[in-house]
Each structure stands twice: as structure tokens, then as C-alpha cells.
């Protein structure tokens, strides 16, 4: 069933009893050409593009819980391409371009809202850094505007511009970046992949790999053994565990990142705003809740919940930047498990075991990458060749010294 205005009218006349389930609930078959482990954004997108771009049939996506309830259902939905380094910037530009047509591509409203992403700076040195970033973005045909204090103030008057410690000097604006509806991204890709014949198998946890002669032959799951020609791993914070099952280690450590939402308010924050002197960023959801987050808790964690010191720190940063926040009441807070790579950039590459492919290390920037990552990972799995825009995301770059350290913080997993 294609979704359209006509369909809404037609179904309404039928009392809305004609809507069908958006995807099947198949039992796993004994064998697939490609098995994708992980039914989040990256896994679902990969399955979709494998079927659509490369004509691969017999694809399964294995998800240990329900689709899209890991980090895809937990993130703060920011979509941007404010990255500078070669090898990194072009990938995020590529992904942002895909976001613009994603609703049409999937026949599903992902509510992409290019409301503008504002990155604040608070010193002359930081202005220079952001001017350089903006030039790098413009140089690859992204949009970026360096705003002075007066221009910025007309756009967002409610910030504490004269803060004694961190006065606001201006901001870098990416006008065509913004947010999207995270659940709709999961459902849209799931439905589109299902329509192309992909088996989406929920509540099916991978417990091991069948490896013979240095090559993967099967995955062991809680719903039995499934033979697989190729296996793609896209499990975000649990990449290290899957790698352990296959017998290799990754340059990844899992950390918890918290996020928060207030009760619904009238429209007040029209953009995505990130604070340059504390790790804090905020946007307003379509329901009205102010969605915001901060930095990692700092210690390795698989808990999907954080600790109170980080909650306090994020609230302090928010109040420093935007004192009016103090009037809003926080409704919920939650945590997601991030696979933090040693240089803060992702990995899309072959794993050390023949036939296993790896999509990991997205740190806390995975949501914006979903369409680009799906296209790149599908291409790698289907053809063995990397997508040009993602060719720098090699697993061996750590050993060879070709790190993509966007923040320049060094090889420390918890500092990116």
C-alpha cells in the first residue's frame, strides 16, 4: 500500500479499518545471502539499500529486541554535516543530501526539518576555528554562514550573550541542517525494506558465529542457527561484544550518553543550538518538548542509564547558556550506549574474519549518518568496494596512523 493523501481519504471513508501492518513478522529461514545483525537505523538502511541498489535477494535483519528501540529510538535527532576533516566531511555531506529526499525515497514522512543548526563560539580563537570549519563545508558545497553577535541576536534573542565567563561572540549556522523524527526513520526504512522482500526478524539475539576455514558460515541465534553468505554487523554500542564472539578486538569502548526532554511548551527554540563552551545542545520537538543533552558520563558502560553528576552538569550548562530554561520542567531522562572509537570517527570496513563486515564506532553521531551509512555499507557488502565518500572509515587506520580525530583530543575513547 502506497501512502498518499488519497489513501488517507479512502481509509477514512472506510472507518480506517483498511490499514495494514507496516512489515511482516517472518520466522527466520535456514539460510540467507546476507544477514544484517542489528535492527536499528544503520542495519535497516543497509538492508534497504542492499535490496534496492544492489538487487540482493534473501536478506535478513536480526534484532534482539524490537526494531528501532536501541539508539535510534533514544537519540536527540540532530542531522547536520558540520565536520571538517577530509574523509569525514564528504561522508556527512553525502548523508545530509540523502536526508533531503528521504521521505519521498521511503514513501514515509520522516519529518526532516531543516530548521538550521547553530554552533556558538565564545572567543576569538573559537571564531577562527569555526570560520575554518565553515570554509571547509562551503568548499565541498555545503551551506555554512558565520554569524556575528548582532545577527545571531536577531535570530535567537534569548541566550545569555553577556555571560561573564563565556560571552557569546557569534555562531556558525548550517541553515539546511536540522532534525528528523527518529521513530519514523526506523519505521520508514523497515517498511521499505520489507516491501523489497527483506525479512525483519525481531526478538532474535545473535549468540555466536559459525566460522570455518577463516570464513563466516552462519550466525547462532536465540531462534536457531542461520546460515549466511555474508554477515554485516551494525549494533552500535554492542559492537565490542559481537566482535568478541567472532574472535577479534575493536578500537572501541562502550559509553553511556544521557539525554533529556522537558514537558511540552509553546514553540520557543526554532533551531538546533549547541553551546561552544560546555557540551550542551538543544532543540524543540514537534510535540513541544525541549530535547537536550550533553557529554558522556565518562566511564565505560552498557547500562542505558547514566548517573546524577552528569545530569547536574548538563542542567548547569543549559542554565548558563539559556537562563529561561529554569522555568521548564524536565519530563524524562534516559541513556544510550555509544560505541566510542579511539579517534571519534566511525568504521565501515571488512572485519578480520572473511565474510563479516563491520559498521561501528559512530560515537554519538550515528543518527545523522543513517542514510549515508546504509548506502555505504550496502555497497561494501554487495561489491566488496567501499563507497568513495566513506572510503576513509577503514579499520586499519588506527594501526597505520591515519586517524580521523575531528576534535583533536587524541586516542582516548571517552574524550570524543
Amino acid at each position: 500500500m502506497r501512502y498518499s493523501g488519497w489513501q488517507i481519504l479512502r481509509q477514512a471513508l472506510g472507518g480506517n479499518r483498511g490499514w495494514k501492518a507496516q512489515w511482516r513478522k517472518p520466522d527466520p529461514r535456514p539460510e540467507y545471502d546476507v544477514v544484517i545483525v542489528g535492527g536499528g537505523g544503520h542495519g535497516l538502511a543497509t538492508a534497504y539499500y542492499l535490496a534496492k541498489n544492489h538487487g540482493v535477494r534473501r536478506i535478513a535483519v536480526l534484532e534482539k529486541g524490537a526494531l528501532g528501540l536501541g539508539n535510534l529510538g533514544r537519540n536527540t535527532t540532530v542531522v547536520r554535516s558540520t565536520y571538517m576533516l577530509p574523509g569525514n566531511g564528504e561522508f556527512y555531506s553525502f548523508s545530509l543530501a540523502l536526508w533531503k529526499d528521504l521521505s519521498q525515497e521511503l514513501d514515509y514522512n520522516v519529518m526532516f526539518s531543516p530548521r538550521g543548526v547553530i554552533s556558538l563560539f565564545h572567543s576569538d580563537a573559537q571564531r577562527d576555528r569555526f570560520a575554518r570549519l565553515g570554509n571547509a563545508m562551503v568548499g565541498r558545497d555545503d551551506h555554512a554562514v558565520l554569524l556575528g553577535r548582532a545577527e545571531l541576536r536577531r535570530l535567537v534573542p534569548y541566550l545569555d550573550y553577556d555571560n561573564t565567563r563565556f560571552p557569546i561572540y557569534g555562531a556558525l549556522l548550517q541553515p539546511d541542517a536540522g532534525t528528523a523524527r527518529h521513530d519514523a526513520v526506523a519505521w520508514g526504512y523497515a517498511r521499505a525494506a520489507d516491501r523489497l522482500g527483506v525479512d525483519l526478524i525481531e526478538h532474535c539475539e545473535v549468540t555466536g558465529f559459525g566460522i570455518a576455514g577463516g570464513r563466516v558460515r552462519a550466525v547462532e541465534t536465540t531462534r536457531g542457527r542461520i546460515n549466511a553468505g555474508k554477515v554485516g554487523i551494525a549494533v552500535a554500542g554492542h559492537s565490542g561484544r559481537l566482535a568478541g564472539m567472532a574472535g577479534f578486538r575493536l578500537p572501541i569502548e562502550s559509553h553511556v550518553l544521557q539525554a533529556f526532554v522537558t514537558e511540552g511548551l509553546k514553540p520557543v527554540v526554532d533551531h538546533v543550538i549547541s553551546y561552544g563552551m560546555g557540551h550542551f545542545y538543544i532543540s524543540q520537538s514537534d510535540k513541544g518538548g525541549l530535547v537536550f543533552g550533553g557529554d558522556l558520563d565518562g566511564y565505560a558502560s552498557y547500562a542505558q542509564r547514566g548517573n546524577l553528576p552528569r545530569v547536574e552538569h548538563v542542567m548547569e550548562a543549559g542554565m548558563t547558556l539559556m537562563p529561561m530554561l529554569g522555568r521548564a520542567r524536565v519530563l524524562r531522562s534516559w541513556g544510550g550506549v555509544m560505541d566510542m572509537s579511539a579517534d571519534g570517527s566511525p568504521i565501515i570496513d571488512r572485519a578480520p574474519v572473511e565474510g563479516i563486515f563491520l559498521n561501528a564506532g559512530w560515537c554519538y553521531g550515528g543518527f545523522k549518518a543513517v542514510p549515508g551509512s546504509g548506502v555505504a555499507f550496502a555497497r561494501l557488502i554487495a561489491t566488496g568496494e567501499p563507497l568513495k565518500a566513506a572510503a576513509a572509515y577503514r579499520l586499519d587506520r588506527f594501526r597505520t596512523g591515519h586517524l580521523i580525530d575531528e576534535e583533536g583530543t587524541g586516542a582516548l575513547h571517552n574524550r570524543h
Partner: protein
């Protein structure tokens, strides 16, 4: 999360700075080769469960500690001075 520093007693985790896996103590020899240095700097066991990490009692006694704790439950088992723990 509270950590029992062997020198100062039980303290709020905010007094500490976490460096990462206790592997940081097993620094390879300068000529140990690419694989050893890659493993030391980048590769991690990343266990879901008990782990050993290097923590610095920044706002306390200034000691480096090896803290044994659980990455799933956030329980802290023990902290011993790094100079006694080894890697």
C-alpha cells in the same frame, strides 16, 4: 556512584577522573612494534560486565587507582593503588 579510595575512604565519583581500561598500565617497550602499540593505544576488550579501569583521584589524594567495577550494573567492587595493582 561512590568509590572507596584506599587512601581517603569512600568518596563521590565526581572527585575522580577516569582514564579508561587498566590496559594503560601495560605500556609496551618502545620497540615492541606496530601491532603491540596499536593494541595498547586503540584496541579494547570492552566487556559488558566486570572490568578494570584506571581512575585518578583528582580532587582527593591525587593517587592513580585501578578500580574494579561492573559496566552493566555500575557496581564498584574495589579500588587499589595503581602501583600495587599492575596491569
Amino acid at each position: 556512584m561512590r568509590i572507596r579510595c584506599p587512601l581517603c575512604g569512600e568518596r563521590d565519583s565526581r572527585e575522580f577522573h577516569v582514564m579508561g581500561a587498566a590496559e594503560w598500565l601495560a605500556r609496551p617497550a618502545p620497540d615492541a612494534g606496530l601491532e603491540a602499540w596499536d593494541a595498547y593505544l586503540h584496541l579494547r576488550d570492552n566487556p559488558a560486565g566486570p572490568t578494570r579501569e584506571l581512575w585518578f583521584h583528582e580532587a582527593g589524594c591525587g593517587a592513580w587507582l585501578v578500580v574494579a567495577r561492573d559496566t552493566v550494573s555500575h557496581a564498584v567492587f574495589e579500588a587499589v593503588p595503581a602501583w600495587e595493582a599492575g596491569a
